[in-house]
Subunit: 481 residues, 2 copies
């Protein structure tokens, strides 16, 4: 402890950096705007050079933060990697984000140029009018990425060093579903492996409640093709006597769920546990009721497993959905056809504890048992991944929750996501790393749509949040996990 | 009774005409071939003049048979009508057939020109090799029509007059589903109404068993469109909580039939009776087992109502078939979509005693009861018609059965047809007339396909059959019905 510190001890080690974040806000915005002006649309080959320019912009910015930064080639778009080589502090965090953006069409619906960022008033709400950064990528994901970089800048300016060991990984194919990331992770395991990944590509909850996504459901996709007669038949001449594959399909698909919304496959719920009571209580408090999820899409009544709220149904409970049925005549008018073949696409969303291979096998056995001897069924596998879930009493998670709670003045929530976030699975599989998904976007950010925006509050307090999280992780890192 | 008759009484009033049929066979074939050479394809406008030529050919032929014949205009293709104005004998029969034919493509698959009729050896079978008339329309329906006209010719040559009062109606839009027939029937009710219609557009059974089709199932077609969310959703983010219209549909559609293949709608079987025991026994004898219907299409196990053979299931039992389901993603690969809307087309085949309106109402009530309050369903009606069935002890039917049995040397069968034959419904609705469907085609005639054929036996004994049927109807006509 130095003499100077003894004279004026900071209330919190993050305070100096937080004050700098506030003072730097205008220049932070300038840097973000410069990045937003680069049309790094990864799905459009004519923007390949722009994507590289965005990577180089970020690489230079990371170098200016004292990191050893490089633009790394892949068979597709480059990946930016940066490390604080001087640091040894625990924990070692790997920040993930992406610099590519979605296409902008339909261009006519934008109120200003998608690559000409502006700060405008958002719509008036109960809590006043938000200032919003409007541009393609403002939220997804350039705005979110820059919250982390601006936090690093403030910390470095305030303290001269980072409280944790920092690595950064920014890819350019997130929006194009490109194949380059996973082989890159596999090829650079030793370089990239850290104690925890920080992923900034998710939303907050309503009313400014910060959230950390810790549960992502897994997926088993299956396509089944049922064949009965060897041709399409006239339903008058054959109906009743000849097996109709659509009847078989509806019987099979209807039998997959019981009247209480539970999946009937034997063993399906083996290993599945309810979220802890405290988490369920939090969700009941923050969820805004089932209507918060269902109301915006025109629904009211949760359709799934009874005894669980809509949030629980989508975040923490496994389920089976029919994603498509094809068979017979679907055009205008009517055709009295009895099809020879019909097919369905079915997916199972899984939670921690479930084995995708076991679910797939149970499904196929369930279907096969219902196919008559003179008919046949073919299966096509479409994807299979385990759910991921962080232990809710892990030290990193607990530290980050406290930090977010301090910044936003509301208890931070542990949430789930019904869908999958590919990078989380890749980091888990390739590097054995868990991810903390902390994001400051909002559901109304219009990502992938015209007039994408990021609230100035998201950007400002998001940057402050990372300052707090990094200091909090440093403290947790010193604590036995 | 004349002196001549007293000297040499014929064993059967039809015998002289039957002998003439045999002697005239060659010239009968020449007339049929002349008709077959006219490419009267009703679906192709470039053949409109050919269709008219076929109508005029038949009109002239009917006039040569002593009938008052005319080509009658319609908004579409002409209709040929002919009456024996001199006759008053009961019963009055109206013969129905059609002079139009299907298109011929793919032309490359024909062994000879589709409008260059030839007599060739058919494939060798257990019962020898059949001589076959090969041409488009040889069976459907020119060959069948000409069996009736050649029967008239022989009767007129033998006896100078017809044993019953004969009217003939030949249309030209049967293959094109044209709209002209029904308004023509409505507009000419008094002229066309007869005691019974004779329709020659159906098959015999296997092994030369003659058949009269007396039962035609009715149809109720329904399309249902189920709407849940107001848009397509991501099945990961919403699956389990948001109602999936495909789940609703499969539950509803699966609930329409019980595990024994019976339709579950309340009142569905009201008024439905089993065919008489003697008919069921005949069917068991003639049907060749379930395999006769199912084997040729690659099936083995009757799928419908338990306790009934495949023939009974299709001819005499009502049923429900799903004709199409559309919803979600049906293309290559997989899409984790939870559709906002899904639809199904469903048809009910009905037998005598069922009311289409009641079935439709019961179906809609069944569906509505299963739609949650926050979802909706729309219904679209696609057709509705009662079944038609002749009383099996009616005098015309009994007489025709005897006549056919005499000609073919095997007991003629009363059969049903699972499908509908539009003219039967039109004659019933417009003129209040029942139809006797008597045809001599065979299942292997390749109607609508390349190398359509009509067995010479079908043509020859078909002509003889009509001679016998007309004399038998004359006798029945004298008997109180």
């Amino acid at each position: 402890m130095s003499a100077m510190n003894a004279i004026q001890p900071p209330a919190n080690p993050a305070d100096a950096a937080l004050a700098l974040v506030d003072r730097q806000l205008e220049s932070s915005l300038e840097r973000l705007f410069a990045l937003l002006r680069i049309p790094s649309v990864s799905t459009q080959p004519e923007h390949a050079a722009d994507c590289r320019r965005a990577a180089e912009f970020l690489c230079a910015d990371l170098a200016s933060l004292g990191l050893e930064a490089s633009v790394r080639e892949t068979p597709g778009l480059p990946i930016v990697v940066a490390h604080d080589r001087s640091a040894t502090e625990a924990p070692h965090v790997l920040f993930y984000g992406h610099y590519d953006v979605q296409p902008v069409d339909p261009l006519a619906l934008w109120n200003s140029g998608p690559f000409e960022p502006v700060l405008v008033d958002g719509p008036a709400t109960d809590s006043g009018t938000e200032r919003c950064i409007t541009a393609r990528g403002a939220s997804d994901d350039k705005g979110q990425v820059m919250t982390f970089l601006e936090a690093l800048r403030a910390i470095r300016a305030a303290d001269g060093r980072y409280p944790v060991r920092v690595s950064v990984l920014l890819e350019g194919e997130e929006e194009s579903g490109g194949p380059s990331l996973r082989p890159f992770l596999d090829a650079n395991r030793d370089e990239l492996r850290a104690d925890i990944a920080l992923v900034c590509d998710t939303d907050m909850l309503e009313n400014g409640v910060p959230a950390i996504t810790t549960m992502l459901r897994g997926l088993v996709g299956e396509e089944i093709v049922v064949t009965c007669a060897d041709r399409d038949l006239h339903s008058g001449l054959y109906g009743n006597a000849a097996r109709n594959p659509l009847h078989l399909l509806v019987d099979i698909l209807a039998s997959l769920r019981d009247p209480h919304g539970r999946v009937t496959l034997p063993g399906f719920y083996d290993g599945v546990e309810d979220p802890p009571a405290q988490v369920r209580e939090t969700w009941a408090r923050i969820g805004g009721g089932d209507d918060a999820l269902l109301g915006p899409v025109g629904l009211r009544i949760p359709a799934g497993e009874q005894g669980y709220s809509a949030l629980e149904q989508t975040w923490a409970r496994p389920t089976c959905e029919i994603n498509g049925i094809t068979g017979g005549y679907g055009g205008e008018g009517f055709k009295t056809v009895l099809p020879g073949q019909a097919s369905a696409k079915v997916s199972f969303r899984m939670v921690a504890g479930q084995d995708p291979d076991a679910v797939r096998a149970a499904f196929r056995a369930h279907v096969r048992a219902r196919i008559p001897e003179d008919c046949s069924v073919a299966f096509h596998a479409h994807g299979g991944s385990r759910a991921s879930a962080l232990p809710i009493d892990g030290p990193h998670l607990k530290a980050a929750l406290v930090a977010l709670t301090e910044e936003w003045g509301r208890p931070a929530a542990i949430v789930g996501s019904g869908g999958s976030i590919p990078v989380v699975k890749d980091l888990q599989e390739a590097l054995g790393m868990d991810s903390l998904l902390i994001g400051f976007a909002k559901a109304d950010n219009r990502i992938h749509s015209p007039n994408e925006k990021y609230d100035l509050t998201s950007f400002h307090k998001g940057t402050r949040s990372w300052v707090r999280v990094l200091y909090a992780l440093a403290q947790a890192g010193a604590t036995p996990g």
